[in-house]
Structure formats: structure tokens, C-alpha cells
Amino acid sequence: MVGGSYLPPTGTVFHMTFTLFAEQLLNGLQFGVMLFLMSAGLTLVFGVMGLINLAHGSLYMVGAFAAAAVAAATGSFVLALMASLAAAAAAGAIIELTIIRRLYNRDHLDQVLATFALILIFSEGTRWIFGSFPLFLDVPQALSGPITLPGGIEYPLYRLAIIGIGLGVATGLFAMINRTSVGIRIRAGEADREMIAALGVDIAKLYTFVFALGAALAGFAGALVGAIQSVQVGMGEPVLILAFVVIVIGGIGSIKGALVGALLVGMTDTLGRFLLPQMLGWILEPSSAISIGSAVSSMSIYILMAGVLIYRPQGLYGSG
């Protein structure tokens, strides 16, 4: 791959180097880590409550908007991140208490429709409050600009921080689920709902907690990504669908599967977009290599998903 010719939009040919490739690897890692924050909540909610939640993307959006609003008012990025966690967790708890808990015993069709209805309400409500124009969340001063990594790789410090924060949250989540008493209850809830209710655990409270936790993770991801992309209505759904791909690949209900799936999807998407047009460039003329390459690479993660489905329909770490 090194040395293959690559045509950037400006039209000048230059050689792909190790640093460029390393940079794309880091981008893939960063994307994967963000997808994990989204997917962890989805897969937990499905594993424990058996609920498919289309409105998870709305919670991502709520987090991003809360962060943008607080950052605009206070100028503090830390406060903005805390606001995103609080707002998304609160929104999650409210919809769990009012609507979602009525859906646990319904079939998947009802869950899909009710949470689709929630998306409509969240999206239009947000548009009503904040307007249709995208908001901007600035990268904090301390984290702006590039950093030089070993090997001479220049990489934006903020993206590197996202990778660090994301991996930290992932570690915390694994520790919570594997080591704390709440984690034991969550795992017990996944294994046998009736039994842990019979053993005196307040299952309703546990459900609200799990849902709010998933919501907070989604909102946090929304705020972190919001500083790289713009904060706008409808930002949650593309990520939601990618998170679905992640948990289908990893196996629904498995946190470990979500982590592996998220990294696989993040890497496949980023490297596919980067490498496919170049590899096609060896056999096609440059302009069609770029157009075909970009069209095919936009499908790469779905092809990955199809491959996993043929190999293991229940996902890599799925039990069912």
C-alpha cells in the first residue's frame, strides 16, 4: 500500500506515507471509540430490558445541544460536557419513566413505532427551541492544535483526547459491570429478570438507572463529537444506525461485542474511505476510481455486517 498513488481533490499526485496511514488508523480508532459510547447504551438496554430503542440517537442529539448551549453561555468546555451528561441522563430518565417502561412487555414492532414517535417529538422539539441552523461547539483552547506523536505523526490533540476519554469511559464501564454491586444486578437482569425481582431487587429502579446510564453515554458522545462536527437536528440518526450495525456485528446484549464491533466498524469505515479509491486507482482511471471508490467505501461497513451475518448470524459475541 505504501507508495500507491492517491489523488487528493486538488489534483496533485503525492505518495501515501506511513504518517498518513497512521493518522487514518487513529481516526478510525477515534470513530470506533465514539461508536462504542453510542452502542454500549443500546446494547445494555436491549440486554437488560429487551427493548429496541430508536430514540437513542435523539439522546445523543440532546447531549450535543445541551453542551453547545452551556458552552455558549459559560464558555467552559468542562461544564458543557457535564451538562451533556446531565441533560441526556435526565431526558433518558424522563422518557423511561413516562413512556419506555410501558413498552418492555410489548413486541418489537410497538417498541420501534413508539421510539420512532419519540424521535419525531425530540427532533421537532429541538428544532422548535434552537431553530434549524446548526450550532457550533468549539474545541477547548487547551486541546486545540496538533500534537507531534512518536514517529513524527502530527495529530489533532482534541481527537487524541477523545480517544483517551472514550477508552477511559469504556474501562470504567467494564469495571462497573464486572466489579460493582450495580453491575452484578445488571448482569443478573440480563440473565433472569423474574429471578432478580423475586430476590428483592427493585427492578423498576434498575431499569431506569440502566436507561439513564445508556442515555448519558450517548449524550456524552454527542457532545464530544459535536466539537468536531456541527450540532444540528437529525445528527443522531446516522450514528444510531451505525450503532445498530455495531451491535449486530458484536452480538446484541454484549458489551464486549459492542467494543469489538465499534472498533471494527470505525476502522473499516475510515480505512475503506481512505484506501479503496487508491486501490481502485491501480486498475481504473483516477476520476472514476475516486467516484466508484467513494461509492463502494460508503457501503463497506454494511458489507462487513453482511459477512459477519453469513459467518455468525447471532453476532461475534452473541449468545442467541
Binding site: I119, L120, I247, V248
Partner: protein, 327 residues
């Protein structure tokens, strides 16, 4: 006569009388609204075969709707540019003739449904929902990033395609044509529902093990149903593109899949006329609420939530009671 039959007849009567009245009063916009409702109804009837009869909750039917739309857009845009689709190994030219476009739309969306179904039906339940959604999204992104046919901007067709013996530019004639298609689709669907295939499909939803034990393979039943369902939705996509004389990736978006599903839920799952009533109510809401508020989707969302939580069975379920078993 069962109450559901009366409701069905009233629905058809309303669907005929409203545009005819609008035609007499010279209100072409209302005819266009009615045509939209009819086309959405066809899409819903298609999905209802998979969703209602087969219990296959597909969140990716916009893919077939959009493929039908693009079949029309691609053929008509080549015809209007006088550029053949391909010259080698044999010549294929674009066309402005609806019957050919419909055929291409049905065949191509059926093939897509066959491929997507063959993979997705290896799973069930919540996996199936997510996977159909993901494949729908795959085609959406493909349409956006493929520059040959307009990419994100879509394709504009300047003149509506023709149908032998009709002036399709006249709104009432185009409405009549779409209405006839709807009636044929409904008739065919009523035959399918009561055929051995339809009954086996419904049993496969209720108890796949029993169906298997009498020697029928549920996977094949579902795959056939999913393919048929995609083909009908594809046909409605071609009509929808012709109504707007425009096709864009929006037709492929996941919101579209959600909306087609909403038609069925408003009307009533697994009811023959459920999607028809649902589409009519959806268009009415869009028109009335859209006039009241720019943010009418909030009200639509609230209404949908109420139906799901408190009025299972949709409008027909509420009016006709549980005469048809639908678990």
C-alpha cells in the same frame, strides 16, 4: 357483511369521491394530495404483506421504494437526454413509457428484496429490524455518493412519463391510473392472504415450528413474502417519482421506511385496507397540521405514541373490533 368490509368500501368511496369532487371544483392540488395518498397506500400494502401477514418488521422498505423511484428516474432521464443506458454488448435505451418503467421497477426492487431478504432472514426479531434498517441505509449512502445519477441532488424528469391511451399530465387521469394500480394490488393481496401461501405465511409468524413440522420451510415462505413485498413497494416508488417528476435519495432515507410503517399502524396491522386508511389519514394530517404549524411532526409523533400505547389495532381495529385474528 362484516363491519370491516363496510369500512373498506367506505374508504374506497371516499378515495374516489374526494378527487372527483376536486376535479369538478377545479382544485388540482387536492387531486395531487389524493394521488399521493393512493401511492403511499400501495407502498403500505406492500410492506403489510411482510409486516402484518409475515410478522417481518422491516425498517428498510424505503430501499425498495427508492429503487422503484430510481428505476423511473434513470430510464426517463436517459430517454430525455437521448443517451442510451448502454451500447455494448447490446443497446439499452431509456424510455418514457410507464408500463416498461413499472416492469423494471418491480423486477429491480424484487431482486434487491431477494438479496437483502436472503441475508436478513437468517436472523429474526430485533436483529432483523436493525439489519433491514442497515441495508436500507447502505443503499441510501450508495445513492448519495454515486455521482452518475445526481448524487445528493437527485434526478429531475421534465415531463411525466406516458401511459398508452391516457394523458398522464392531467391530474385526474394520473390519479385514475394510480387508483387502478391500487385496486389491482389490493385484489391480488386479498387473493394472496387467503391462498395456501398466505395462510402458511401467517402460521409461520404464529408458530414456525409447527409449520416446519408439516414440511414447509418458514425461511423460504418469508423470503418469497419479503420479495413480493419489496416488489409492490418498488412499484409504488416508480409512481411516486412520476408524481413528483423527481427522485432523490430522500426516497431511500430511513425516515421514509418509518413513514411507510406508520401508514400501516395508523390504519391497522395485517388488515387489507389498513395501509390505505393510514395513508389517507397521514396525508390529511400532513395537510391540516402542516398548515397549522411548521413543527407538525411533533403532533404526528404524539398521535403515533397514543396509537401504539393505547389503541392497538389502529383505526380499523378501533372501528371493526377484533374480527380478524392478529396477535
Amino acid at each position: 357483511m362484516r363491519r370491516e368490509h363496510i369500512i373498506n368500501l367506505v374508504t374506497l368511496a371516499v378515495l374516489v369521491v374526494v378527487p372527483l369532487g376536486a376535479w369538478v371544483l377545479d382544485e388540482p392540488f387536492i387531486i395531487t394530495l389524493a394521488t399521493r395518498a393512493v401511492i403511499f397506500a400501495i407502498a403500505g400494502v406492500g410492506l403489510n404483506l411482510a409486516l402484518g401477514q409475515g410478522g417481518l418488521v422491516s425498517l428498510g422498505h424505503a430501499a425498495f421504494f427508492g429503487i422503484g423511484g430510481y428505476a423511473m428516474g434513470i430510464l426517463a432521464s436517459h430517454a430525455q437526454a437521448y443517451a442510451p443506458l448502454m451500447e455494448w454488448p447490446f443497446l439499452i435505451e431509456g424510455t418514457k413509457s410507464m408500463p416498461i418503467i413499472w416492469l423494471v421497477a418491480v423486477v429491480s426492487s424484487a431482486l434487491a428484496a431477494l438479496a437483502i431478504g436472503a441475508l436478513s432472514l437468517r436472523t429474526s426479531g430485533v436483529y432483523f429490524i436493525m439489519i433491514t434498517l442497515a441495508f436500507g441505509q447502505m443503499i441510501y449512502y450508495f445513492a448519495i455518493s454515486w455521482p452518475a445519477y445526481g448524487g445528493e441532488d437527485g434526478l429531475v424528469v421534465y415531463v411525466r412519463n406516458g401511459f398508452p391511451g391516457l394523458n398522464t399530465l392531467d391530474p385526474i387521469q394520473f390519479f385514475g391510473l394510480c387508483f387502478c394500480v391500487l385496486c389491482i394490488v389490493l385484489w391480488a393481496m386479498s387473493r394472496v392472504q387467503n391462498s395456501a401461501f398466505g395462510l402458511a405465511l401467517a402460521s409461520a409468524r404464529q408458530n414456525p415450528v409447527r409449520v416446519q413440522s408439516v414440511g414447509i420451510d418458514p425461511y423460504r415462505l418469508r423470503l418469497v413474502a419479503f420479495t413480493l413485498s419489496g416488489a409492490i413497494t418498488g412499484l409504488s416508488g416508480a409512481l411516486f417519482a412520476d408524481l413528483n417528476r423527481f427522485v432523490s435519495p430522500t426516497m431511500l432515507s430511513w425516515q421514509m421506511s418509518g413513514e411507510i410503517m406508520v401508514f400501516i399502524i395508523i390504519g391497522g396491522v395485517a388488515r387489507l385496507f389498513g395501509p390505505v386508511i393510514g395513508a389517507m389519514i397521514f396525508i390529511l394530517l400532513e395537510h391540516v397540521l402542516g398548515g397549522v404549524s411548521e413543527f407538525w411532526h411533533i403532533y404526528l409523533g404524539a398521535l403515533l405514541l397514543m396509537i401504539v400505547l393505547f389503541a392497538k389495532g389502529g383505526v380499523i381495529g378501533a372501528l371493526a373490533g377484533r374480527e380478524v385474528a392478529h396477535d
